[in-house]
């Protein structure tokens, strides 16, 4: 009996302590390595900044793995409060209405001021619905930019190319002469397809790039894009361009080793590059464009990932999530994240803070991503929304790889991508029925 009493007392004590304790929320992310440390740092800062809530970040592997883990957990009713979902998974998570609480609703219902105009132009609508309501909070936003080995360009007597025409007629031949492979890039679907369309303000898919409906058709089989890939194979033959495989790092390494003079990567790669002792000066600038396609190049859109508030959580927990999101958008948090990782600050206020602090004077290359995202917008620069997009990217990677290893022609490859992507899109449309 004594024991029973003790147990009961202990139980009451436990229950009591829980009611007074902080509300704890979980945050599943895909930020490994240094990025993971910065993510943990931000969570710790949030936990230290107040006493009501505690956020617990959990690393779940790659972007694909994090999304799959989140989906499996949701189906089992064990979903985290916050799930990080990457650009290609946007249609999946946003399409599943009821899986998440739109971030805009979450913030507004918890009394946090929200104005989408506070966000930087290229960031605003990628994770929004067709009415422009923000569904996912853009967390780690990056854009593809052009890094260059300043020493190599100086040795070759050229400046970073503004257009692809300049690259192929002036920059690349001079760099080859100087003993460099002129160009490499790390993500063909992201840099040379999605953002290629945005940079040239070309429609990427029907239905307003997929935002307005499910019966979307992809528009990759177009002359501008095919001409670009034909040029790539031509440059490859001439020794101006080299492709080292589908993996990101395989293409970044030759740049770091000083073999490749110009590398197209993510603005988020800046932190990593700056931390390394490369043995040469590097800088960055905007992605080139084809003057034959457009004379008024537009902005690129963001890659990276957004944070989604999963549904099925209590009001207290949602309040905690809202508080954490509010903390994330604070200029100081964004500036810290921007400086540590190289991802762009997502709000204008944070950008102003970084400028006022003189950050871009010491690291001008860090500003390129945000400048490029703030270039003039067009009707095709908000982003895209396509279902089964992870698989569509895999199809692109496969066909592009075949083009660059001479296994297929540009014409056949794009016909294949168009067909397979459209099949996947119509399959996705039916999963939503």
């Amino acid at each position: 009996m004594q024991i029973l009493k003790a147990v009961a007392a202990f139980g009451f004590a436990l229950a009591a302590s829980q009611t007074t304790a902080q509300t704890e929320i979980t945050f599943w992310h895909a930020m490994g390595g240094e990025l993971g440390e910065s993510t943990n740092q931000i969570a710790e800062n949030f936990n230290a900044s107040q006493n009501d809530y505690r956020v617990v970040p959990v690393f779940k592997g790659t972007y694909e793995e994090a999304l799959t883990a989140g989906i499996a957990a949701f189906r089992a009713g064990e979903q985290p409060n916050i799930l990080q979902v990457f650009d290609a998974g946007a249609a999946t998570v946003i399409g599943a209405k009821g899986a998440t609480v739109p971030v805009q609703d979450l913030l507004e219902s918890n009394g946090v001021d929200f104005n989408i105009e506070d966000y930087i132009s290229g960031v605003r609508y990628f994770f929004a619905d067709s009415d422009g309501k923000m569904i996912g909070m853009p967390f780690n936003s990056s854009s593809p930019i052009m890094y260059y080995n300043a020493d190599a360009l100086e040795a070759a007597g050229v400046t970073p190319p503004e257009t692809w025409e300049e690259f192929q007629s002036v920059t690349a031949p001079a760099l080859k002469e100087a003993g460099y492979t002129a160009l490499a890039q790390s993500h063909l679907p992201w840099i040379f397809t999605e953002n290629f369309m945005s940079r040239h303000n070309l429609p990427f898919a029907t239905n307003n790039n997929g935002y307005d409906g499910l019966d979307t058709q992809i528009l990759v089989n177009n002359d501008a894009l095919k001409a670009h890939f034909t040029a790539l194979t031509d440059w490859q033959e001439k020794g101006y361009f080299e492709w080292f495989g589908t993996g990101w790092g395989d293409n970044q390494t030759p740049f770091e080793e000083g073999k490749v003079a110009i590398w197209l990567g993510s603005s988020g790669s800046f932190g990593g590059l700056a931390a390394k002792d490369l043995g040469f000066e590097f800088s960055a600038t905007n992605l080139p464009y084809w003057e034959t396609v457009t004379t008024e190049p537009t902005q690129t859109f963001i890659g990276g990932a957004a944070l989604f508030a999963m549904s099925g959580k209590s009001d207290e927990e949602n309040a905690a999530t809202a508080a954490f999101f509010d903390f994330l958008t604070k200029p100081e948090t964004q500036y810290l994240w921007h400086r540590e990782t190289g991802y762009v600050p997502i709000t204008t206020a944070a950008y102003e803070l970084a400028k006022a602090d003189g950050y871009y004077e010491e690291a001008p290359a860090a500003e390129v991503g945000i400048q490029q995202l703030s270039l003039p917008a067009g009707e095709n620069t908000a982003g895209y929304r396509m279902g089964f997009y992870v698989q569509i990217r895999d199809v692109m990677n496969r066909e592009y790889g075949r083009i660059l290893t001479g296994e297929t022609s540009v014409e056949d490859a794009f016909a294949n991508i168009e067909k397979e992507a459209n099949d996947l899109l119509s399959r996705f449309a039916r999963t939503q029925g």
């Binding site: 989906i71 999946t92 495989g245 589908t246 395989d250 698989q391 496969r398 790889g401 290893t405």
Partner: protein, 293 residues
């Protein structure tokens, strides 16, 4: 003759129950689920789904990429099975003859067995590194530019090589113990009858090893079809791209990467049926010709 048996008919059931429960939970239940989802197109989060009948299967049949992967799987399985069995047999026969330092030789051959598939794959990634991999250098010496992750055939070669390397030790252990269980008297009799070592091997040793070989054949085909997943995933560095892949990896790519539950379920049902057919064929045809001692 009196048959030995249980008096109580519930006791054997009870003793079998743990095994049956495990099979039911970890095989029949998921298999039934896979079969069910293969007839639907399903929203990953589980909100919407559309019944599509056999469409997931007919889509696969009409998909040229799926056929290409199926052919690669067949070729890959044949190569890996043949070479890992042949090399292991060769090594076992040679190791069986070693008298001095036999244990050291055996241990050296066997220790690779302890390497996990992803680690084996990672070793492959290092050996075939595009700029400084030792094996890339060897190929360079012979005038071939080996590019793992770029060239389809090069990547396929690396996958086959690493998978064989990883599997040889297992086969070696079994073959060696098979060889050592051949009675000395038979060997000595054969020695008198036939002076040619290779003749003795093919006429006497090989048939006596057949039960071991048959068992290993099944194990190796299963290994090449399924257990090479870790090797493949590491060698393609998580990016399928234009790299070769096996059917199992494709199930993972579509299901776990792409969240296409219906399509990948149909693929796994196809694999299940294939394995079923394979097993029946193996036991029906091959086993009849093998005499267990």
């Amino acid at each position: 003759m009196k048959r030995a048996g249980f008096v109580n008919r519930w006791l054997p059931m009870l003793l079998l129950a743990p095994q049956l429960v495990i099979i039911a939970i970890f095989f029949y239940w998921p298999a039934a689920h896979a079969l069910h989802s293969s007839f639907f197109l399903q929203d990953p989060f589980g909100f919407g789904s559309t019944f599509v009948g056999w469409e997931n299967y007919t889509d696969l049949a009409g998909n040229s990429e799926y056929r290409r992967i199926a052919w690669f799987t067949v070729l890959f399985t044949c190569l890996v099975t043949f070479f890992s069995l042949a090399l292991a047999l060769l090594l076992a026969v040679k190791a069986d003859k070693v008298i001095r330092g036999a244990r050291t030789y055996r241990t050296l051959i066997m220790w690779v067995y302890a390497v996990a598939p992803p680690v084996a794959g990672f070793i492959g990634v290092i050996m075939f590194n595009q700029s400084w991999g030792p094996l890339t250098r060897v190929f360079e010496y012979f005038g071939h530019d080996m590019t793992l992750g770029v060239n389809y055939n090069d990547t396929a070669f690396a996958m086959v090589l690493v998978s064989i390397w990883k599997q040889v030790p297992v086969n070696f252990i079994f073959f060696l113990s098979g060889l050592q269980s051949i009675p000395k008297s038979i060997r000595e009799a054969a020695l008198i009858d036939n002076r040619s070592a290779s003749g003795r091997f093919w006429d006497v040793t090989f048939p006596l090893l057949a039960p071991t070989g048959f068992f290993l054949l099944i194990i190796n085909i299963t290994y090449a079809l399924f257990d090479t997943f870790g090797v493949i995933d590491t060698l393609v560095k998580g990016e399928p791209g234009n790299n070769p892949m096996t059917l199992v990896y494709k199930v993972y790519v579509d299901g776990f990467r792409g969240n296409d539950l219906g399509g990948s379920s149909a693929q796994s049902v196809i694999l299940m049926v294939l394995v079923l057919i394979l097993t029946v064929v193996q036991f029906r045809l091959v086993e009849r010709r093998i005499h267990y001692t």
